[in-house]
């Protein structure tokens, strides 16, 4: 029996351990849990914050669509995907993916698949705010992210 995904888009932070506990939910048939946490990363002290914008409604729907694909393709027993929005300082959490499966490979692959698709098709955008108080650029999409997604085709 596959689990339904838990998908949330929220401003507030998340707690890794409580999300893992909630996903496992006392079930004893789970053999592997892989978690991925994406953080706001500073580059040489130049960044004061990343501002995450999203398309409300579509962001959740697209994440749920990808999560359903991951659950089916890798026979996951559960999948959690949480993405934050708003202004996030370096070191703060941005995204959490947790995949649960009977064995490790499915859990690794499921979480990786979820992230690769989320990055290229969930409607979120990052804008840089510089440490000197100026507003920087919107982060550009990377070809490497498209290639990472293509490997699952």
């Amino acid at each position: 029996m596959y689990g339904a995904p838990l998908v949330r888009v929220q401003m507030q932070d998340f707690d890794l351990q409580s999300e893992v506990d909630a996903l496992i939910g006392g079930r004893t048939g789970i053999g592997a849990v892989v978690t991925f946490t994406g953080l706001c990363r500073d580059e040489q002290g130049a960044l004061s914050a990343l501002e995450l914008e999203h398309y409300p409604g579509m962001a959740e729907a697209e994440m749920r669509r990808i999560a359903d694909l991951a659950i089916e393709r890798f026979s996951l027993q559960g999948l959690t995907a949480i993405h934050r929005y708003g202004k996030l300082a370096p070191g703060e959490n941005i995204v959490l993916v947790i995949a649960a499966a009977p064995h490790r490979q499915a859990a690794f692959d499921g979480s990786s698949f979820m992230m690769d698709y989320l990055k290229t098709s969930a409607p979120f955008w990052k804008k840089e705010h510089k440490a000197d108080g100026t507003t920087g650029d919107w982060v550009s999409a990377k070809d490497a992210d498209d290639r990472a997604r293509e490997k699952w085709r």
Binding site: G38, L52, E53, H54, Y55, G57, M58, A59, A61, E62, H83, I94, V95, M115, L118, K119, T120, S121, A122, P123, F124, W125, K126, K127, W138, V139, S140, A141
Partner: protein, 84 residues
């Protein structure tokens, strides 16, 4: 009337987060719409200067530029996504 909703630098360049417009009868596809919007003024031209990079969602689902707009009520227009 059709609701257009803009995000990230598309929103900034056009100068508003959303608007309702009447689509001209000859606007059938997503590509037609982008071509039409570019004629609405300098700000639209700046936002849609390179239409090939622009992503579009009809009623919150991704579509390609050759696809027909049909009866979509909400059209999202935005740059490539950079979440995660």
């Amino acid at each position: 009337m059709t609701k257009l909703i803009y995000f990230a630098w598309v929103r900034e360049r056009i100068g508003k987060p959303e608007e309702e417009i009447e689509l001209p009868h000859d606007v059938k596809t997503v590509r037609d719409l982008l071509v039409h919007l570019k004629t609405l003024g300098e700000q639209y031209e700046a936002a849609l200067q390179y239409p090939e990079v622009i992503r579009v969602a009809l009623d919150q689902e991704h579509v390609e530029h050759h696809e027909k707009i049909g009866n979509a009520r909400e059209i999202g227009i935005f740059p490539p996504m950079t979440g995660g």
